[in-house]
Symmetry: C2
Subunit: 417 residues, 2 copies
């Protein structure tokens, strides 16, 4: 039996899940690969807090991250504490001390992924982060193992469970945005401060991570076109439903030649679209590639055990590398030079929700009318479906509608990947 | 640059796809892992046939399988010729000559998988067969890598594209079984002799392969409860639609304690079921496990390039193993002792399609009525939905209905995984 010593940073939702799963799989791992994982130290904010752990062995809690990241006997560090700067410092320290690292921290990988990957390679250690996107869905592994020689041309996904839950609850139960959010918080699906989730930051981080692996491209997060779900109303969902459309919080990337078109925003999808039935906290990623066509990967995008399961598969991969002395050798998407633009630069159809008209009886100008395919009114609200608009046409239409209506929301209609 | 010599058995739909993808990825593979694949020899039935290949390099066609499987310079053999006995003999020979093997042959792996895996291990070579289930969907890799420490409790899938195409065409275009099949053949979705697909044999092989990896259990194919789709009528699809049900060609495995319940049959699913929208030649596998809950994997289940893409990912995995000298070391599900029964032993709800009544005006006996929840008649046909029935109740109902109707078809209704 080989013993592998593990250190952990953080022991909250995900960290306790890791201990639960490790505990449950101890015998199986011992039998199949003759390895015992010794969780030696866990760094937390409150080392003296009483914790309810499914863990049978001794483990030392510490308030000092360095106790874990510099301990010469620890071979693998699992970072599940969150934050960017502190986590970055801790992960660098662990790597510089020769430890392989697993992290669930999407913000860290989105912002510092390429640097950390390079540092890990230089130190001949592994850096894995399957848990950072899609919780339990093995999407990063699919991109890096199964699609390695294929050319990916499109990614569309729902990768923020909180936003998807809120919109699903609004649609299915006709409860307001505020009530749906409150319920999400009560059920533990949304954090006390849900701004990162609802404004699309969390989705943007995940799109950045997926793009690194799928396109070898590091997204410019500052310039990324990003819209949250916090302005969506019940009326808008009903308006969309009139045409069989559902509004979903999406990430989108389309590669055409040497350009990547990206978007983080609520979009409208038809009933037949594979994302239409992904509801509640579920996540799903559609990948389109030259050889494979479109494949989709769907499951729990967060939660203690699903997320911890991704960490377990990273842990076993690294262990295999330690046993065969090949840490730091995993393939990485070669970085490529592609330009990046908003998806809204491409010709698209739109679902438009218009708030109350500025004038009593709205009448579309001739110019506006030529772009509008169909109109639907309920109460004071007006909804439209447009023909395919290029960027200029969309800008023109937006301008002429904004003279007549107080709120003008454009939702791109997604048809294919 | 390292050169890896490859031999191929067969150069039909899948084989030509492998050459196309290899050709397309040559530069990328050379750059990223500094490997060049030299496809030296291909064994085919008709070595002199003119072939339209996307392949720039010299390659020797041969009519003798042994020329490939015993060539000392060949390191990896790709078996894409089909058959069981011949392929078994060829794969054994290749393994015994120290070659790692990739195969797309589901029948071979379903019937001889455990023996071949053992032989490969003894010879320190790899045996991979991602392409054998779900075409391009990386489902085997997910089971063996990402779910390795999780306990899988349920598998439900649509893994035969031909059957799914035929049923989808019947439902969506109201064309008869015979017409739908003819169209599938015309489009290349069904073979000239489609019996293996339509009678459920192909699905059964795939269930067997999935069970080996998911449960470490080798299914007894002779005792497996298996029903084809060839008896399904347009009327039955309409009857099902009355309750929002869709009939889908499914494979099912449920593990409860130490028992595995299995089924290969058309089943009825509700609109919300993740398989309801999997249509045409698409395949999908749902996996339920303790930590992860239910995840689903959907995509092209067959076709030249999708299937070849799975072979490419196996090829790269084996290459990595050759370079790091660890062939034959991959984990394998430990085989476990579990009993196997038909899923129909479990309490289930059913959708029942009844052909013309034996008597003019059918009246259900009291005994039958107690199990029937709802009835729907159209023309001469009668359809029912039952309450949850255990095995005995189902047998009783079947018996009493068969006195009154000429055709009695029971479709289990699947609600969860
Ligand atoms: N929750 C999910 O479903 C999920 C899914 C995917 C990814 N993630 C990511 O996983 C990471 C952890 O998430 P979580 O939900 O488990 O968070 P959490 O429940 O808030 O737990 C955070 C843990 O980190 C510890 N901690 C925080 N700051 C620390 C510091 N400066 N030094 C030492 N310990 C510190 C806390 O200690 P105390 O216990 O003493 O307070 C706590 O144990 C985050 O990056 C998150 O984005 C979470
Ligand atoms: N087609 C798919 O979408 C798909 C998907 C998943 C798995 N598969 C599996 O992949 C395998 C190949 O399928 P395929 O569709 O590519 O078949 P195919 O188009 O019929 O091609 C078979 C190839 O094998 C050669 N061959 C047949 N018997 C041979 C023998 N005894 N000795 C030497 N060569 C022989 C044929 O030679 P000639 O060319 O000279 O006739 C032909 O090149 C099968 O096991 C199938 O189940 C196929």
């Amino acid at each position: 039996m080989t013993t592998i010593s593990v250190g952990m940073l953080g022991c909250g939702t995900v960290g306790t899940g890791v201990l639960t799963l490790l505990n449950r799989a101890t015998n199986q791992i011992a039998e199949s690969i003759k390895v015992h994982f010794n969780v030696k130290k866990i760094a937390v904010s409150h080392p003296d807090k009483k914790r309810n752990l499914h863990w049978d062995e001794d483990v030392q809690f510490t308030g000092e991250i360095e106790n874990v990241t510099t301990d010469p006997s620890i071979q693998i560090v699992i970072e599940v504490m969150g934050t960017v700067d502190q986590a970055y410092h801790a992960v660098c320290q662990a790597i510089n001390h020769g430890k392989s690292v697993i992290t669930a921290n999407k913000e860290l990988i989105a912002l510092k992924g390429p640097q950390l990957t390079k540092l890990a390679r230089q130190n001949h250690v592994d850096l894995y982060y399957e848990a950072s996107v899609g919780g339990g869905i093995p999407i990063l592994r699919v991109l890096s193992d199964s699609l390695i020689t294929d050319q990916i041309t499109g990614l569309t996904g729902i990768v923020n469970g909180t936003s998807n839950y809120v919109l699903s609850a609004m649609k299915d139960e006709r409860s307001s945005y505020a009530d749906s959010l409150k319920r999400a918080q009560k059920l533990g699906y949304a954090e006390a401060n849900p701004i990162n989730d609802l404004s699309g930051f969390d989705s943007a981080y995940k799109l950045a991570i997926l793009s690194q692996l799928a396109f070898g491209h590091t997204i410019n997060l500052k310039q990324l076109e990003r819209t949250g779900i916090d302005k969506i109303t019940l009326d808008e969902l009903s308006g969309a439903a009139h045409w069989g459309l559902t509004i979903k919080p999406a990430i989108v990337a389309r590669k055409k030649e040497h350009t990547l078109y990206t978007l983080v925003a609520p979009v409208a999808v038809t009933k037949q679209h594979p994302l239409a039935n992904v509801s509640g906290v579920e996540n799903s990623v559609l990948v389109t590639s030259t050889a494979l066509g479109t494949t989709s990967y769907t499951g729990a995008g967060a939660g203690s055990e699903p997320t911890a399961n991704s960490i377990m598969s990273d842990l076993l991969t690294i262990t295999h590398h330690i046993l065969t002395e090949q840490c730091g050798s995993s393939y990485n998407a070669p970085s490529t030079h592609i330009s990046e633009y908003s998806l809204l630069k491409l010709p698209l159809e739109y679902f438009i929700a218009l708030g109350e008209p500025a004038k009593k009886e709205p009448k579309f100008s001739n110019e506006a009318s030529q772009y509008i395919e169909d109109t639907f009114k309920t109460g004071k609200a007006v909804f439209c479906i447009t023909s395919v608009l290029d960027k200029n046409e969309k800008t023109n239409l937006e301008k002429s509608l904004s003279f007549m209506f107080q709120n003008v929301h454009f939702y791109p209609i997604l048809k294919e990947n």
